[in-house]
Amino acid sequence: LPLTCDWRKVHGVILPVRNQGNCRCCWAMAAVGNIEALWGIRNHKSVELSVQELLDCDRCNNGCNGGFVWDAFMTVLNNSGLASEKDYPFQGTKEPQECLAKKYQKVAWIQDFFMLPANEDRIAQHLATHGPITVTINKKLLMQYKNGVIKSTHAQCNPEIVDHSVLLVGFGRSEKEEEEGKQESRPRPRRSIPYWILKNSWGESWGERGYFRLHRGSNTCGLTKYPVSARVGLPTKKTRVSCP
C-alpha cells in the first residue's frame, strides 16, 4: 500500500467537480464519477458521462428525489452503457424526464458492480490498485465544512446514518502542525493525520475546491458502510493499475 494516492494527478481520470444544485442526485453523480474514472484509467480516454440518463431511466423513477449508487449501476447495466454528458446533459429538474437512453450512442459501459469489505485498509488497497470508488457517508459535518481533515467521534457523526454518496479519489497523511499554528513560536510535537480525499458534487466553490478530507482509520462518518464500485473491463490479473 503506498503512503499516498491521488487519482487527480492522472490527466483525464477525475473530471471537473459537478454541482447537483437542488437536485438530490449525489448517488448518480458519484456513480458517474466512478465509471468516468475507471474508464479513464483502463482506456486512457476521458469521457464525461450523462447523470441525467441515470435520473430519467432509474428503475425507481425518483429523479431528483434521491436514490442509491447501486441503482445507478443497475441502470447502466440495463441500458448497456451510458451516453455522454454532451449528448444527454444534466437538467436538474425536480421531476424525471422521459428516458432517452435509446436515443443516444453509448460511450462507456460496465461489466459489473460490487461492494468492498468494510475495512479501510482493503478500501485503500483497492483504491490504489484499481481506481476511485463510491462511498456513502453521513453528511452532517459537511454543512459547516470549509477545509482540512475532519476527525470526529461517532457521537458527533453517526456512522450508521449515511445519507450522501461521494467519490473516494485518494488518501494521504498531513502534519497537523503544518495546517495549524504555524505562527506559534514554540514548536509542538507533530501529529500525523491519515486522511481520505473525497470528491463532492456541490460545485467547486464548496470545501477544498469541491473536495474534502476525512480522517482515515476510524470509519469517520460511516465511510466504510457502503464502499461500492463498478467494474470496467474483465476481472483479470492484468487490470491492476498504480495510483500516483
Partner: protein, 104 residues
C-alpha cells in the same frame, strides 16, 4: 463568530455584517423582512454550531460560514444527499476474494 451568537437578540452589528457578507458572497436575497430575520436567526445558530464543531474536531478541519449557512439542518437534509439507507441494504455481496484471485 462574533459576540451576540450566544444571546439570540438583539443582534450585534458584527453578526449582521457577517450575514450581509454571506448574502453577497452567495448571492442570497429573501422575499420579505420576516424571511430575512428568520434566515438571520438560522445563520446565527449555524455560526454557533460551526464554532462548537471547531472546538470538538480532532483533526485539522475548519468549520464556518458556507453556502448552507442560512439553512436549517432539516432543510439541508431535505435539499442535499439522498434518502437514508439504514435498513435498505442492497442485495449485493461484499467482495471477499483476494485481490489476486480477481473473481467474486
Amino acid at each position: 463568530r462574533g459576540p451576540g451568537i450566544q444571546d439570540p437578540g438583539p443582534w450585534s452589528l458584527e453578526l449582521k455584517e457577517a450575514f450581509a457578507l454571506f448574502q453577497i458572497q452567495f448571492n442570497r436575497s429573501y422575499t420579505s423582512a420576516a424571511e430575512q430575520a428568520h434566515r438571520l436567526l438560522i445563520f446565527a445558530h449555524n455560526l454557533a454550531q460551526a464554532q462548537r464543531l471547531q472546538e470538538e474536531d480532532l483533526g485539522t478541519a475548519e468549520f464556518g460560514v458556507t453556502m448552507f449557512s442560512d439553512l436549517t439542518e432539516e432543510e439541508f437534509g431535505q435539499l442535499y444527499g439522498h434518502q437514508m439507507v439504514a435498513g435498505a441494504v442492497p442485495n449485493v455481496s461484499r467482495e471477499v476474494v483476494s485481490e489476486a484471485g480477481g473473481e467474486s
